[in-house]
Amino acid sequence: MEEILSKLYRMTAFGGFSFEVVLMWFIAFVLLYLGIRKKYEPLLLVPIAFGVLLANFPGGGMGIVPAENIALEGHRYKNLFEIASEYGIMNYLYYSLIKTGFLPPIIFMGVGALTDFGPMLRNLKLALFGAAAQIGIFTVLIVSLLLGFNLNEAASLGIIGGADGPTAIYTTIKLAPHLLGPIAIAAYSYMALVPVIIPFVANLLMTKKEFKINMRQMDKLYPPKHKIKNLKVVKIIFPIVLGCVSAIFVPSSVPLLGMLLFGNLIKEIGTSTLRLSEAATGPIMNTATIFLGLTVGATMTADVFLSPKTLGIVVGGFIAFAISIAGGILAVKVYNLFAKKKINPLIGATGLSAVPMASRVANEIALKHDSNNHILQYCMASNISGVIGSAVAAGVLISLLS
């Protein structure tokens, strides 16, 4: 009888319990609440949160082990079969799909196949504000360096300001994989908080008059020079050329941008590659999302997550977002000083990326100030270019630091 009880006890997780573990459950519940009830990017936050939960049951063997555990001597590593045997399926998934940098480009392929470069092509100039809105990345890099993060960690923290989930995850995998969990959560949470952060920053920096700048009226006053006569051809050539240009200048951005543009190309070609683009946006992307979420969540074991650095990431990520938005807005304001054809600074704010929510939020703000001021299509131009901007920034960081 005693034996039964002792076996029973040893089988349970009670031996490994601690305050930290229970705290992690609480964090998982909060994330689940945000994802399910508040609908903060549920497609990622729910799997991440469940991954956190699974990882934090002592004895469940679902938590990701540190990379040291799989290193052997002489730059060699345990093989995937050994990882699965020793550390279970979650580590198998993590080390085959995530640590190899595989899933973020795969998700980017799907994102590309869902992206329409049309609005950007129709308002090419606005794409430049997608560059300005990357300033948060580098500012926070410097700030967090001063706060005690090392360079690689600081770069991963800064990339949260790119407001793009797969980019943030890919960069962190390459530069500071031990911070993957909190950075992914910060990135997706703040993307979900865009409807709060953009109005907050915009109200700080913009005047009432600026909120009312009407892009369509401007287009009437100063009509664009040439219209696109054959949009389909342009849309097919554009991703190919864009891929070449970015690959020549920032080769390290190829895994991300190349897959994004490949996805876009097979979508724009149309029916003859429809099977491929449907696969990229459907089963491939959804499957990738499930496993990305669960494994990223599973990196957050109590001992890794509960460190002062996590707090730094939460605060730093928010600052990066805010500065990126501010950068976009200020760039438009500077532009407006010199140009006759004014631009609504909200279009700078959407340079952040967080497609398409940022555009929708900016459009709503504009409509609140003037119910005729539809700026969605203009916002989408800088919004999409913000995705490219942060992927390029990620390429630079990886190239200079890894």
Binding site: L124, L128, Q134, I135, F138, L145, N230, G270, V396, L400
Partner: protein
């Protein structure tokens, strides 16, 4: 090099690159549009595609309008297959 100096250097390199690439995109996008306007203004295939496009666009709008009325905006057509 001290980390801080390197960070500032990274910032410079990074922002220059980002601006440069997006500037190139503006230029090249513009070039593609001009060239396609000049040499492939409205090719046979494209016209055809466009025409079936416009007609189906109208159909689509009609369908969507109908559904909107009937479902009070709660339903949405995500997929219609033509054969």
């Amino acid at each position: 090099m001290q980390p801080l100096n390197e960070a500032i250097l990274i910032m410079a390199v990074g922002m220059i690159t980002v601006f440069f690439i997006l500037f190139l995109i503006v230029l090249i996008g513009d070039l593609i549009i001009r060239l396609s306007n000049k040499y492939l203004p409205e090719e046979a295939v494209a016209v055809k595609a466009k025409k079936t496009g416009t007609s189906s666009d109208n159909t689509m709008k009609a369908i969507e309008a109908a559904i909107d009325v009937i479902t009070n905006g709660r339903g949405k057509v995500t997929n219609i297959k033509k054969i």
